[in-house]
Symmetry: C2
Subunit: 349 residues, 2 copies
């Protein structure tokens, strides 16, 4: 209705700070102050200005503002090629907290675009800071990230003495609990690890926990107890088929590096009449929604996804607003969630 009211100012149709100033009978400086430092403006003037702002439906031009302040209240988010529940949960968590704190999210899943170089993609220069999630150890370019002209927070990768803020998940805690649970009924030589390819940070850490637990029981893991390829249902299935063909998928325990692998294995086992958890005990990882959807319900290790998201936003905002504070390094715990697929003493959820 009163949209795009022609400003007395003439020229451009858009309503600018100038139109507001004229309507309120003050200078543009005062309008600006009402918006940014109201305490510097008398009550009566402020009211008049606010009225004008409302009448005109004035909204400050963010480009002009950004030009001066070098701030956009936009956070760049670069996620790896992860799918499903994890992705959406993380995004919601990021978005949640960002909104709460008055920031916005500029996302690019195509992580490669973090690279700089004029002309190219990531509107790197629009954002106030960058959240980068990593899953692979290789091609990390942590150096590059920490030398960006913007503050950055890295999710998923940590290393002593890193200059950027980091947030990692402590795969070890939950994994150990899970494996010990398996070891309560299976001997170490009958426990298996099925994960993603070497180089995947999480898979590797989970494997480390696996090996450590076995060694603690005095058993050096044999190479055939460890299988690695990818985080997929098919890989789990295929591995299980192989094991079954060799008659080795019985009376063992499997620690899968994620839920999809675990379910692949479980499905193959069931199709071949192997009882879970009777003959085959399985634990997955991620505690995705899948766990309660499949039968038997899958024991798993919970990732604190929401917490990661919240922490990442808080971290990046801290770095944006207090660039000189020392970068922190957070480590969030994982927790074992026992369900049906691993049998054992107390059963829940």
């Amino acid at each position: 209705m009163k949209r795009q009211e022609a400003s007395e100012n003439g020229r451009t149709g858009a309503v600018s700070i100038r139109s507001v100033a004229e309507r309120a009978g003050v200078s543009i400086a005062t309008v600006s102050r009402v918006l940014n430092t109201p305490q510097k403006v008398s009550q009566s003037t402020a009211d008049r200005v606010r009225k004008a702002i409302e009448d005109l439906e004035y909204r400050p031009n963010l480009f002009a503002k950004g030009l001066l302040t070098k701030r956009s209240r936009v956070i760049g988010v670069s996620l790896p090629d992860i799918h499903g529940e994890f992705y959406s949960e993380l995004m919601f968590a990021l978005d949640d907290r960002a909104c709460e704190l008055g920031y916005h999210l500029l996302v690019s899943s195509n992580a490669h675009r973090v690279e700089r170089g004029p002309g190219n993609g990531f509107a790197l220069d629009l954002v106030d800071g960058l959240i980068v999630m990593l899953t692979e150890r290789s091609g990390v370019d942590i150096e590059g990230i920490s030398q960006l002209s913007h503050p950055a927070v890295v999710i998923g990768f940590d290393e002593p003495g890193l200059e950027v803020e980091t947030i990692v998940v402590d795969n070890e805690t939950g994994a150990r609990k899970a494996i010990e649970h398996l070891l309560s009924e299976n001997t170490p030589d009958r426990c298996y690890f099925v994960g993603a390819h070497r180089g995947n940070i999480d898979s590797d850490e989970r494997l480390n926990a696996f090996c450590a637990a076995l060694r603690k029981r005095g058993h050096e893991p044999r190479s055939d107890q460890i299988a690695r390829r990818e985080f997929s249902f098919d890989w789990g299935w295929e591995w299980a088929e192989g094991m079954i063909d060799e008659g080795r998928l019985e009376d063992i325990a499997v620690f899968a590096a994620n839920d999809e692998i675990a379910i692949g294995i479980a499905n193959a086992a069931r199709d071949r009449g192997i009882e879970i958890p009777g003959s085959l005990r399985i634990v997955g990882f991620d505690d995705s929604r899948l766990c309660s959807l499949v039968r038997p319900k899958l024991s798993s290790v919970r990732m604190p996804v929401r917490e990661i998201g919240h922490a990442a936003i808080e971290a990046i905002i801290r770095r944006i607003e207090e660039p000189d504070s020392a970068p922190r390094h957070a480590r969030l715990a994982t927790t074992f969630v026992q369900r049906e697929s691993s049998g054992g003493p107390r059963s829940m959820g």
Copy 2:
């Protein structure tokens, strides 16, 4: 190393178009032309300027640029509270195409923030256009959306004579195929619909297709053949339990409005020893990854998620770049994917 080279220009440390101009011995206008309209610049000058740009690692300030051009190459995306595979697939599709076309995504899942009003959230003024996805018929505020000062594209809602560009899924095509498939072995009076609450656009459309198919067979759907609550595993489960208690979950067919509901029903059935697809035939909707993970594999109707994403980006960019073109209205087909849970003649996937 050569980061933040002090510009001969003095003042600010950052490298601006001015530093480049000085280094290349040209005016800033020429630098700008090299970047934006190279054909207006002689080859030799252009080379010199490009060299300077490279040396200085110059990157144009997007705020200044936006201030003039009123363009940011950023697209706002507002998604409803959807989770899981669908969300991530859609985001990837959007991101993919957006990147390809040189745009970026500013997302806000908290859709409410589309509302305008000064001071508040959505960096509405930074974006060149807006993609809004809707799932509920109520509170649509389509008017509001079409009156925004930016071009907009609506996903999921269409209505004759709408001023905004729209992209919807044709629930009907796939749904009809699915129901006809069920009707090939079950009589219309033994077919059930389990969906989300009235008002959810997709659930309602799927229900319509369900009713239409039954009527075409000369059967007016009884109210007990239709159950609605929400898109959740638990709802499916609960509904199935109720049916089982009344001894009515046998020798029937169920068309669930999404996969989660379907799986809830299937799990409840299996726990109670009802054979699928022997005694109970089920079809879900969405063709999510879940379908192949559960046993029996779930027949479903595929949503063209990638296509939606791509179409949305292309649409919004068209509206941004040719604001005067007539808004289009796309309707993307859904397709029935037969698996195990619905039995029937040919079995695949």
